[in-house]
Symmetry: C2
Subunit: 168 residues, 2 copies
């Protein structure tokens, strides 16, 4: 299963492509889709949409992203939500299902503790994917985290399903 | 100049097509683009995007919409901002410039008073466009209002420009 994790943003949108095969996870690529700050918001969303289409075209089967909560800077929140709308659209255009996880769910799945620090999450990502260093920048690391979260959930679901099918 | 006013929303997105010719405004059509509530958010954004493309395909030269402020229900705000992202994308895809106005600017332009009531705005829309009744529903009326606001601004700009060119 090819999972695409996304951390939406208009200036910098984190993405991660993670393959789950026979219970093993492998990172194929991760990084940031950036849009020039000189462009208008609409133009930046246009660039983002094109980049997202390129990322999803690699055969992503599911898109995982964090549920959005508004509590901080309202202006940033509007920009993130607008970018998120374009991310969801890009998934729907390819008929890819979307899985959403709250930040504590992501931390719980990655670190085993729902209130883990950012650094702990990054260290666990490094180990899980066998990366030489902590994944950077933060947006890319967040995308990796939500992709790994979905992989863990899919792995668990698969195991439970297999268990249920066993003869007793 | 063909102006498309939009009041973004995921369940119901208001739109209005207004023609400004020689200082006169005429409404060509207005209404709501609705998306089935049984669909997922991503699927609803997909349907909305398609409907928007149809509306803009009529030759809209500018897209006018209200600037977004977050102060009420955060969940609604996320949904509106996500839909707004898709609206901005649709404009950029057609190379149509986007004009944003704050709610007081819209009221000021339509009624001449930045703190006008919704009913006053609708009554002024009815008169300005020669409609038989108050425009309904609210989302469509809001789209008409922001389109009329842009028409007023464009009219004023045009007049000022012409005035500036006059020999003194």
């Amino acid at each position: 299963m090819l999972i695409c994790g996304i951390d939406p943003g208009i200036g910098r949108c984190g993405y991660a492509l993670v393959e789950l095969t026979d219970g093993n996870v492998k990172v194929l690529s991760y990084g940031c889709l950036e849009t020039p700050s000189l462009l208008s918001t609409a133009e930046r969303l246009y660039v983002l949409h094109q980049r997202l289409q390129e990322v999803l075209a690699c055969g992503a089967e599911v898109l995982a992203l964090e549920a959005l909560f508004f509590n901080k800077n309202a202006r940033t929140a509007v920009n993130v939500a607008q970018a998120r709308g374009v991310v969801l659209l890009a998934a729907a255009e390819r008929g890819i299902p979307v899985a959403e996880y709250t930040p504590p769910e992501v931390k719980q799945a990655v670190v085993g503790y729902g209130r883990a620090e950012k650094r702990q999450v990054q260290e666990m990502l490094r180990r899980s994917f066998g990366l030489p260093d902590l994944p950077k920048p933060d947006d890319a690391a967040d995308a990796l985290a939500v992709a790994l979260c979905h992989a863990q959930v899919a792995r668990f679901t698969e195991r439970t399903r297999q268990g249920g099918e066993k003869p007793v």
